[in-house]
Symmetry: C2
Subunit: 410 residues, 2 copies
């Protein structure tokens, strides 16, 4: 079962908004065994909607459309779909009275434009949108399904979960899609590929291997499309077991558990606490941990000590050492980690101090130089890393290295 996702809206094409809907829908379709063949974003143009729909229906059985369902003149998806299906727009009483109530609860008058939102193509099945004024619509012709959903992410997500996914699962006989991802760390992608080349060449045909490199991490994903889920999951387990014998030192974890998730789990399971002191990563490490629900159990404190005075006053770093060795130095990284471990009264601490650029580098300490400090109940130390040349890259890599170094020393 193949599908195409179409997102409609000039605001996507000009880059005013980030299209997160496509990703959400992709994940939902993959979970129930619907393969996403293509995702495409087009403007609010009737001609473009029609030609894209023609193409999508030629290559797939299911088409999910989001966007262009607002009450104003720039939104034309519904009218275009009505013409596409030679269907008249009719007033839907249920939608109309729901929208009227919804607006009344928010103290908003029901206008002619809102009335227009309750007009739907006669041939479609209306999908109730409990969170907004534009209903979802399900069209079917020649055994192929087209679903039109509002572009507001929150409304779209509820319609996908509550209506589209169960309806597709009932309407079609779906096989399984299986993805499993192993996380490796410490071996660069090209070296890793050589070490596992024989294993890769001998993979069963049904399994597809993908390399997903990120700072200091390479994820290996095995995917199988439209298969018997149970037997393929066993097959993947077997293949990953073989890998454990080939690169035992590099395997960090499975699925999409990130290294911060592994630290998070370890801290919670072992009842230990964590604090972080950041200079060049500027809060990115703290943000990674605190983004996870339940971090408050173990995450005591983060300090973004950008200025030297903050390093001294908040973390107790020795100002003489800063002057003698520089803020980007082994001793300062160690003192930062020890300082925040003390200030945050925690068992573990990690620190970063480096040059994120674009300015501030020197011959001796070029942009990208980062010292990472770790303080544990057993003692403290620091490691020097070159984290690249671009500011956002340096922040990302230093964040990843720091979390990995911490994890390795738990």
């Amino acid at each position: 079962m193949k599908s195409t996702i179409i997102t409609i809206g000039d605001e996507i094409l000009i880059g005013q908004i980030l299209d997160t809907n496509s990703r959400y829908i992709s994940q939902a379709l993959n979970r129930i065994g619907v393969v996403v063949t293509e995702r495409t974003s087009i403007g609010d143009s009737a001609e473009q909607i029609v030609s894209t729909l023609d193409r999508a229906l030629a290559q797939s059985d299911v088409v999910i459309i989001t966007g262009g369902l607002g009450p104003t003149k720039d939104d034309i998806t519904k009218h275009t779909l009505a013409r596409y299906y030679n269907s008249e727009l009719v007033y839907n009483e249920q939608v109309g009275s729901f929208v009227e109530q919804l607006l009344a609860r928010r103290g908003i008058a029901f206008t002619e434009l809102n009335r227009g939102q309750a007009m739907v193509p006669q041939c479609c099945t209306v999908l109730h949108n409990a969170h907004g004024t534009a209903p979802g619509m399900w069209f079917e012709r020649d055994g192929k399904v087209v679903v039109s959903l509002p572009g507001v992410p929150f409304e779209m997500r509820h319609l996908i979960d509550d209506s589209v996914v169960p309806m597709l699962a009932e309407r079609f006989e779906l096989k399984a899609i299986v993805h499993r991802t192993m996380i490796t760390s410490g071996i660069p992608e090209s070296i890793l590929a050589e070490r596992i080349a024989t294993w890769e060449d001998n993979l069963p045909d049904v399994l597809h291997l993908a390399y997903l490199p990120a700072p200091n991490v390479v994820r290996l994903r095995l995917s199988a499309y439209e298969v018997d889920g149970q037997s393929v999951r066993r097959m993947i387990d077997d293949e990953f077991d073989k890998l454990k014998g080939i690169i035992p030192e590099a395997i960090v974890g499975f699925e999409d558990a990130t290294v911060e998730q592994l630290v998070h789990r370890w801290m919670r399971e072992n009842g230990k606490t964590l604090s972080v002191a950041e200079s060049c990563t500027g809060g990115a490490i703290a943000a990674k941990f605190t983004a996870m629900a339940g971090a408050s159990v173990y995450f005591n404190a983060g300090v973004v000590s950008y200025s030297n005075e903050a390093k001294r006053d908040i973390l107790g770093v020795n100002m003489d050492d800063i002057v003698r060795y520089g803020a980007v130095s082994e001793t300062v990284a160690i003192q930062m980690a020890e300082g925040v471990r003390r200030a945050g009264q925690s068992d573990y601490a990690v620190s970063t101090t480096g040059i994120a650029g674009p300015t501030g580098g020197s011959a001796e300490k070029p942009v990208g130089t980062v010292w990472i400090g770790v303080a544990t109940p057993k003692g403290s130390f620091a490691v020097l890393k070159n984290c690249g040349t671009d500011r956002s890259q340096i922040i990302d890599r230093a964040t990843a290295y720091a979390i990995k170094l911490l994890y390795d020393n738990l």
Copy 2:
């Protein structure tokens, strides 16, 4: 001048990663006057790459492709492009020696796979990738340009900014694309549309109006494609001036820069300094500021005071007040802001303390309750905000509210 953006990678189609490249490229092309007609994401399939490229070249003059340039077998973009252009892959000495140096700096051996990354189609112009191992490639046939870039976001960004944008601007005679967005608040979309209907009907043909609704905000964007920039910008100013007369109470401002960019600029221009104290936002505010080059001039310190002890020990919050009023309270928010303003020796400070969930809420203080504190040379205060129901949404909204509240009080 029309363009199509193609992102290649199964990881996009299955929803494993969010495609942020398309947005960045869309913005860059719009800035130089290249209209983006379509954005499409496809898998690592030669057949699909060829058919999508055929279609893209039929509908546009410029095609930008990202992804599928890694050293491993799952990446096939380069080989497919070589066949598409009937061009042989040849070893590029410059790329080869650069990759070798780049890897040597990171202490990584140069392997046969890396050598493969220096093989490029003979017919293309190589675009130097200063930040990674896969070069960009510029193809040209029948006056139409196809550019292939690596999918790693920061490598792609540098290639767009340093090579693709200047080369397109030189290669083609480009007209201007103008977008300007007015932010309104307090009038629901359907009511707003009725109030400005006459104005909308009388807009010059060259201007296109779009409504972009969000909770309590409707943004109105006027766009003009491939025009004389100067005269159209004046035209848009005139039209927005008229709107000021029609909905004077609803206009909040214009969207030209993010609020953190406005604060960044203000701090630098006025020689003032900033510190932040975060509880529920967990470092996200600090990370937003420190992501911007030059933040070290004014950003002194951030404290992520997740535990009550950290609030007391690092920020000097009164523990009796935490016990009496709770950590999520007006007085704690104010004391956090004042505490970090003092600890960071800075002119301004902002703080957050709230319940990010999913647990920890109560009837009186449900999940999403956030107090935001601001401390300035003139004094300090705090504001209560409800930031939603979902953890990441709450962190994002609280971050945005806090930066906005700070900006309003500079």
